[in-house]
Each structure stands twice: as C-alpha cells, then as structure tokens.
C-alpha cells in the first residue's frame, strides 16, 4: 500500500509542474491589460507604464516566470489588484466556505444516491426502481442555479422556512473561532450550538440544490454497477452457498460494485468544487468560485492564477485519494503498482 502511495505521488509531480507552467502562461495570455485596469480610466499612459513597472509586467516572460516561481516557493501567490490583499489569505478564507458547501452536498448526495441505487438494483422493476429513475432524470435535467433559485423563492420568500440567502451566517451571529474553517465543525468543537444551527440553516438550501444535481450520476452508476455485479457468477455462488441476503448484497455485490461509483464520485466532486459559481452567486456564498469569477472579470490575474493553481492541486490530491481508495477496495489494483 505504501508503495502504491509513493508511486502515485511520484506521478503527481509532473502534473503539478505542468499546472504551474500553464497557470502562468494562461494568465499572461488573458485579454485585457491589468495595469490599465488598475490605473483607472483617467490615467495617463505614463502612469500606466509606471504601474506596469511596479507590477513587473514590463519584464520579459521568462523573467516574470522566474519571479513567479520564486514567489511560489515562498508560498506567495501575489496580491489581488482590486483588494490589495494577499491572494493566499483570500483563498484560505474562501476555500473552506466552498469546501464546506461542496462536502455537505456530496455527503447528502452519497447518503441518498447509494442506498437508492442499491435498492433499485436489488428490487428491480418495483416502485423504488421507478423512484430512482425519476430522481436521476430530475437531477440531471434541473440545473443547479435553477433549483437554487426555486428553493430560495419557495423556502425563503414564500414559506419563510429558510433564512435569507445571504452567505454563510446570519449577520447577527459572529463566525466561530476558526479551527478548520468549516463553520459546522468549528462551532461544534467550540460547543457554540447557536452558530452551528445558524450555519446549518444557511447551508441547507445551497447544499440540497447541489446534492440533487450530483445525486443523479451517483445513483445511476450505483444501480447499473449493482445490476451487473448481481448478475455475475460469484453472486450465484454466494446464493448457492446459502449466504444471507445481506451478506450477498453488501459483502459480495456492493463491494464489487462500488469501484465505478468511486470514479463517478471523484468526477462529481471535482465538478462541484469548480462549478458551484452559480450556486455561490444565487446564495451570496463567499466561496472561491465567486472570487475567481470576479477576478477574471477585472483582469486581476494573481487571484485567477491562485485559483487555478489551488483547483489543480485539489484535483490532483483528489485523484490520488481515489486511486488509493481503489487500492483499498480492489486487491488487483494493489498488485499493479
């Protein structure tokens, strides 16, 4: 297992190098002149040139790249032009917001999709199978921003069950002491139940709208994978050996069926993490997606660069985790390493 971990870590290195190069190039190729934007509309060409020198944009690309690498090695992603804050700090405060939302949505989706898919496969053709089909169809055909808006309209505006879609916490509550950056975990750790419930109430609607969307591929894959495994020879052996139905379905079938589900899980997770910009916009969620879009619009390349880099590293870490999970579930993968 350790060998697998090390070999997979080694394969991650070239990806990271590639990402560093690409993020650098990409942001330099973006349309728009950051210096001009930063200087303002009324700035003289002289002032713009001055700012360009200050930002180091007048240097050649290789020089800029070396400077970028040196900064990166020191954990410095530069400053945001529009806020003046270091990008590292801004991402560090915003990433947990997105991560908390995404993880909660994913836990919800997995918690519903996997039992639903398993039941639909075991009781094929019954009402639960039809329910699964309806849920997956609805899930893929309703875009996240639409369910988000619909939920906000129904549960906040009409029914007033949910709080205003105004970020991670009600304005009257102060955020918990940051430990992990996840409000739910931090408030639970510090025993601040009022903040815990407040944060949960804020999280509920965006998390559910994202969960509904990611539920569909997970449930469908679980059902399909379970069906094919349930029809395989070793399940017949297990049944012919008189093993209890629970053992047959979980120990024998599900563990074999879970591999493709893990793959889909990884895809859904990375998709949610990057593409929740729309949900963040609808619910005024101070997450990383919103941050990146704003930076992109204002040609503020340091945050964009930081965002792409963070995402890429997250994706690589995620794929690594999935590879390891594969190795845990399937002994044949362990052998290949």
């Amino acid at each position: 297992m350790l060998k697998l971990l090390l070999s997979r870590l080694a394969t991650a290195v070239p990806s990271i190098v590639g990402v560093v190069v690409v993020t650098f190039m990409l942001t330099r190729l973006l349309p728009g002149d950051p210096a001009a934007y930063f200087a303002g509309l009324a700035a003289s060409p002289q002032a713009i040139a001055e700012i360009r020198t200050k930002l180091g944009l007048d240097k050649s690309l290789p020089e800029q790249f070396v400077a970028y690498l040196v900064d990166l090695a020191q954990g410095n992603l530069g400053n945001s032009l529009s806020t003046g804050q270091p990008v590292v700090t801004e991402i560090a405060t915003r990433l947990p917001a997105s991560a908390e939302l995404t993880l909660l949505a994913l836990i919800l989706a997995v918690g519903i999709a996997i039992p639903l898919g398993v039941l639909a496969a075991v009781k094929q053709g019954t009402w639960i199978d039809h329910l699964c089909r309806i849920a997956t169809t609805a899930g893929v055909s309703l875009p996240v921003f639409f369910t988000g808006l619909l939920f906000a309209y129904v549960f906040y505006y009409l029914l007033q069950w949910a709080p205003a879609p105004s970020g991670r916490l009600d304005v009257f509550l102060s955020p918990p002491t940051p430990i992990t950056g996840f409000y739910l975990i931090d408030s639970a750790l510090t025993g601040n139940m009022e903040v815990f419930w407040g944060a949960l109430r804020q999280l509920a609607l965006p998390a559910i709208s994202m969960a509904i969307f990611s539920l569909a591929p997970l449930a469908r894959m679980t059902r399909g994978s379970m069906l094919s495994v349930l029809g395989s020879d070793f399940i017949r052996t297990a049944r012919a050996s008189g093993l209890a139905p629970g053992t047959v379905v979980f120990t024998y079938a599900f563990r074999n069926a879970v591999l493709p589900v893990i793959t889909v899980l990884g895809m859904v997770f990375s998709f949610l993490l990057g593409a929740n910009v729309l949900v963040e916009t609808v619910f005024a969620w101070p997450g990383i997606g919103l941050y990146a879009v704003n930076a992109l619009i204002t040609s503020d390349y340091a945050p964009v660069q930081g965002f792409v880099l963070t995402m890429a590293v997250l994706y690589i870490a995620l794929n690594l985790a999935i590879d390891l999970l594969y190795g845990l579930v399937d002994p044949r993968v362990r052998l290949d390493s």
Binding site: D233, R236, T237, R239, A240, S241, G242, L243, A244, N256
Partner: protein
Amino acid sequence: MTAVPALAVEDLSVEFRTRSGTVKVLDHVGFSVDKGETVALVGESGSGKSVTAFAVMGILDPAGRVTSGRALFGGADLLALSEHDLAEQRGRELSMIFQNPRTALNPIRKVGQQIADVLVRHGGATRPDAPRAAVEMLKRVRIPDPERRVEAYPFELSGGMCQRIMIAIALACRPALLIADEPTTGLDVTTQAVIMDLIGELAHESGMATIFITHDLALAAEYCDRIVVMHAGHIVEAAPARELFAHPRHPYSAKLLAATPGETVSLAELASIPGGLPDLRRPDLPACRYSDRCERRLDDCARPLPHRVIGERHTVSCWNPL
C-alpha cells in the same frame, strides 16, 4: 440392496418468460440420486441440465418459473420451501460447484474468507475459529501450502486451484448432495482428471450423493454410476453408465455416443448429430422433441411420450427404441 434416494426430482417443469414468448425449458423431468451415488446429467448445450440444477437449488433466474413438480430431499420438497428455509439448506445440505471457477469466486475477497463465510453462515465454525477451519478445508482439497493460500485472492491462483477452492466452499459443511455443473470446463485435461478424482474421492469418503452435469459422455461414463440423458428439456434415457455405453436404447443417446471420442473411435469416424434443438417457444412442440431430428421416427411418435422401463434402473422415453 434397496437404495435410499438422496434427491428425487419428480415431474419438474420450468418455463422462462422472454420478450419473444414463453420458453418451456423443462418438461416433466424426473430422476433420482441415491446416497453415495454419482449420477451424470448429459446433453448438448441448451438441453436443460443446468436449469434442472438451478431449479433444485432455488437459484433460477427471476425470469424462470417452476410450473410443476417436486424435488424431495431429506423429507422436504425443496421446490415448496420458502426462500429463507431453502437458504438454510443451501451450502449446508446441498451444494453446487460451477463451471469457470475464476468467475465463480468473488474476485476481491480472500479465498479463505469465502470459505469462512459459508462455515460461519451454517454454524460450521465461529468467526474466530473460521480461519483455522478454512485452512483445514484447503488441506482436504489438497491445496499445497494452505496457510499461505487462505490469504490469496482468486486472481493469484490458477484455474485448477480456484476450482479446488470452489470445492472447498461447496463441501465446507459436508453436504448430503453435491451438484457439479461442468466443473472441469475451462480447465486443461490433466487438471480435469485431478479435479474429477478429487470430487469422486471426497464424495466417496462422506457418502455424498453427486449430480455431475456435463456434455462429455466419456467423462460421465468414467466417473458416474448412472447416466441421465437430456434433450430439449426432456429426459430421454436413464441407465447405468456401463449399460448405456454398451446398449444405448434411445436414438439420441446412440447419436451422442457416436459423437463421443474414445479409445476405439478415431476422430474421423465421429458423427455429428444432424439438426439442432427445436425452438422451445413453439406452441406446437411435438410430444417427442427429438422427433424432428430422428431417423427412427414413426407415426406413433406424435402420441404422448412413453416412459418405458426396459431393464434394471433403465428407462427410455421413445416409441421406437433401438
């Protein structure tokens, strides 16, 4: 000697529902296996051998349905038992070995655990004792280095080893009846003999009844006491192995024998059986499902199939036997 049947299948009919109609896969099939006896079910692919076994085990595909019959085993009718009661019997009193041992084992569970699962399920061992009991089982099926092999996954073992594991799983709880469904398909010839000998010895040791499903008549003759010949869901002939080999009475058995390579028959002399199995979805299936392929067909053959006893334990379902 009055033998006691370990399993008596009577009047068993099975239908499969498909999109293109109902397939009458088994039609009033009956045979019995005595304690300690080895009976072969022989026939070409699609003759209903495996379906008979699956019906007895209660592991038919959901599309399959038993429409008539009984399978008397240990005083109970297996076909009338609830799924729960049947599951109690499966693996403990009646077991099954399948073809293609590699796919018949759970690919991601250690073989020792798979043996232990059956033992624990049927009270053959407690969870803490199970690993040791699994090693014992591997010794019984003569797997070298059993202490190390219990920790192996199926993909780390050869096909012959996997079939030994299958046998170990099937025999873990010392069943009274073993159904071996083409246990040597996909194994090389030397391994085939070893596996067949192993099954034979273990069955002999414990006085277990064995049903051996095969399309290989020579193999059946070598290892079995009696042979039951199936064709298109009918049992056409049942006879002691030696007698069937010497004097097959049903035209189909004779053709099957002529198509079996042996010491006295060269490959060039082998005859193939003309025609194929009838389409079992036909509503107007003839009474004798072999009649369309038969050279000895009479007008009588349109009448319902006879069940003629023509010798000791020798029956044939034919109006014009050889």
